[in-house]
């Protein structure tokens, strides 16, 4: 009896670092965020209680609704595009050919390039006058091409989502898919090969169903990375206003702008609450989906 009691205590001591961290750096900030969202706290620290005024103003603001739409759109499209691209890369690398390691190096390296560097590189590659892309198109067409990729509403999403193919998240998914595909039992393929099935059939009927849990998991996991990583990518790429026309102004950029350019910290907290709720919804989704499809060893 005494022994068991002691064991209990030791376990809690082991868990203490987490508990302190959880209370101080997660639980308290959540409460503090909600509390501050009810004040008109400024960056200088002055604040008084204003009730739900921040939320009222938020729901009345065109800028907020635009940002909310952009956030959902950006998150969902990014996860679809990056998941598909990662899958394509993994399939390409699954071909047992010479120099496979070299290819993997080329495919993976962009993911560990600092996001700021990547964003600046693309800002200039998509430049109007000295940009690489316009240069290539100009060479191909023989004309002077001056597409304003990142400032034109017709091309901005094309450009931004292209950039997301180079992020850490894509590289990570590629590696996960790669090992998932390699784990598919060979005899499954052999069986259909006897029926004369082509690569496409093999992929569609065997590989994809076998790795489907990974696809789902990656996709929803990617959503959280998209929410989290959007600031570091878009702040240097399109600025706090999310040019053009706020089309890239995700919530994280708006939060930064309201808190640090307009000094409206209380309002920024209200926006953070919204972002937190969105993240929680994605979190619930990941749980729901993974319970059904991914084997958890608990």
């Amino acid at each position: 009896m005494k022994g068991t009691k002691k064991k209990f205590q030791i376990a809690y001591v082991f868990c203490l670092p987490w508990l302190i961290g959880f209370v101080c750096f997660t639980l308290f900030p959540i409460g503090f965020m909600i509390y501050n969202s009810l004040t008109n706290r400024k960056l200088t620290g002055t604040s008084s209680f204003v009730g739900l005024a921040n939320y009222r103003n938020m729901f009345r603001s065109k800028v907020f609704w635009n940002s909310l739409r952009v956030t959902l759109f950006y998150t969902i499209v990014m996860l679809v595009i990056t998941t598909v691209w990662a899958l394509v890369l993994a399939i390409l690398l699954n071909n047992k050919i010479k120099l496979n390691g070299l290819f993997q190096f080329f495919y993976f390296l962009p993911s560990v390039v600092p996001t700021v560097a990547l964003a600046y590189a693309f800002r200039t590659m998509f430049g109007k006058d000295g940009g690489l892309l316009n240069g290539i198109l100009g060479n191909l067409s023989g004309k002077n091409v001056t597409i304003n990729w990142l400032m034109d509403p017709k091309t901005v999403y094309l450009a931004v989502f292209f950039v997301t193919l180079f992020t850490y998240n894509t590289g990570q998914m590629m590696l996960i898919f790669r090992s998932g595909i390699a784990d598919v039992p060979k005899d499954l393929y052999e069986a259909v090969e006897l029926d004369g099935a082509g690569s496409w059939t093999k992929f569609w009927h065997i590989t994809l169903p076998m790795i489907s849990p990974l696809v789902l998991f990656n996709a929803v996991n990617g959503a959280i990375s998209a929410l989290n990583g959007s600031f570091a990518l878009l702040y240097p790429l399109s600025g706090e206003n999310g040019d053009p026309k706020g089309m890239t102004q995700v919530l994280s950029l708006l939060i930064y702008k309201e808190a640090f350019s307009n000094m409206k910290v209380g309002y920024a907290c209200a926006l953070s609450v919204v972002l937190f709720v969105i993240a929680a919804l994605f979190g619930i989704a990941i749980f729901a989906i993974s319970k059904k499809t991914v084997y958890y060893e608990t």
């Binding site: 809690y12 590189a121 006058d129 000295g130 996991n221």
Partner: protein
């Protein structure tokens, strides 16, 4: 005969596709390296990869005029602080979750998994106010201290690994009179070295690249990290305030790409393995 023709044809097509994709994926990196050797005029007017007029000016500036040494030091402090902190704390918690029986274990584990889903950015404003109140802003503390209180992500990773270690090893040690803590420090930790290395590598890559938190927390030059120095023009000549000196940015970016590249070339397996498992989460 015909079949083999078809096969080589497909082989060539496959290579062609793979090379094309490699070119696309590597283009930004080539662009960055090439841009670093260009002059501003050339960079803003021509898209050639090989500069017409090579210049080392950008690099000379970075090494002789900017405080790159200081920024590297700060970045390394973040990396070392976080790696040490998270390994010490996360492994303790992970051990309890993997090996000990106690009331509330499942609750704690669920909370840990749940908190992994919260993006940092959602809580950064309240954390910012909080750190301001205790006087930690404009220092590396807000980015290092939390790591000593177990990042859920790493707890999760380590827990999964510890569970794969045969229980018999612990039991034998306990028979020899080891305490729980001794089991942890003498048996579990030494066996888990590869996972520790993996976590170290992951946290290094993360903090080498991290922009968001330094942007929020750092004011003055003495604590700037490489990423914010790059973003706020502290590593490149700006001359005219309205003109971003892109070639200088590219030169600084090239320098920032090299360490992860070397890491990949030397510890690629660890890096890939780590990134893979951190995504899989079990």
């Amino acid at each position: 005969m015909k079949a083999s023709h078809k096969k080589t044809g497909r082989g060539i097509a496959l290579y062609a596709v793979m090379i094309l994709v490699a070119v696309i994926m590597f283009a930004p990196i080539v662009w960055i390296f090439s841009g670093g050797f260009k002059t501003l005029t050339e960079f803003t007017t021509s898209a050639k990869i090989i500069p017409e007029k090579m210049t080392l000016e950008n690099y000379i500036y970075i090494f002789t005029q900017s405080k790159i040494g200081l920024y590297v030091r700060n970045t390394l402090l973040l990396i070392v602080g976080n790696t040490v902190g998270t390994l010490l704390s996360s492994s303790l918690v992970a051990y309890a979750l993997a090996r000990l029986e106690f009331r509330g274990k499942n609750v704690i584990f669920s909370i840990i998994v749940a908190t992994m889903m919260i993006p940092n950015i959602a809580l950064i404003i309240p954390q910012y106010i909080m750190f301001g109140k205790i006087g930690w802003l404009d220092s590396l503390l807000p980015m290092i201290v939390p790591s000593f209180f177990a990042y859920p992500y790493n707890v999760f990773l380590l827990r999964q690994y510890f569970r794969s270690i045969p229980k018999e090893l612990d039991e034998a040690a306990i028979m020899d009179g080891c305490s729980k803590f001794q089991v942890f420090s003498r048996i579990i930790v030494p066996i888990s070295k590869p996972t520790f290395v993996t976590i170290g590598i992951l946290s290094s890559v993360f903090w080498w690249n991290e922009l968001t938190q330094p942007v929020f927390y750092i004011n003055s030059d003495k604590w700037r990290t490489l990423t914010i120095a790059l973003m706020t023009s502290y590593m490149y000549t700006s001359g005219n305030a309205f003109v971003i000196n892109w070639p200088s940015i590219m030169a600084a970016s090239s320098l920032m790409i090299i360490p992860p590249m070397i890491l990949y070339l030397t510890a690629g397996k660890h890096l890939e393995g780590g990134i893979k498992t951190s995504g899989l989460k079990g």
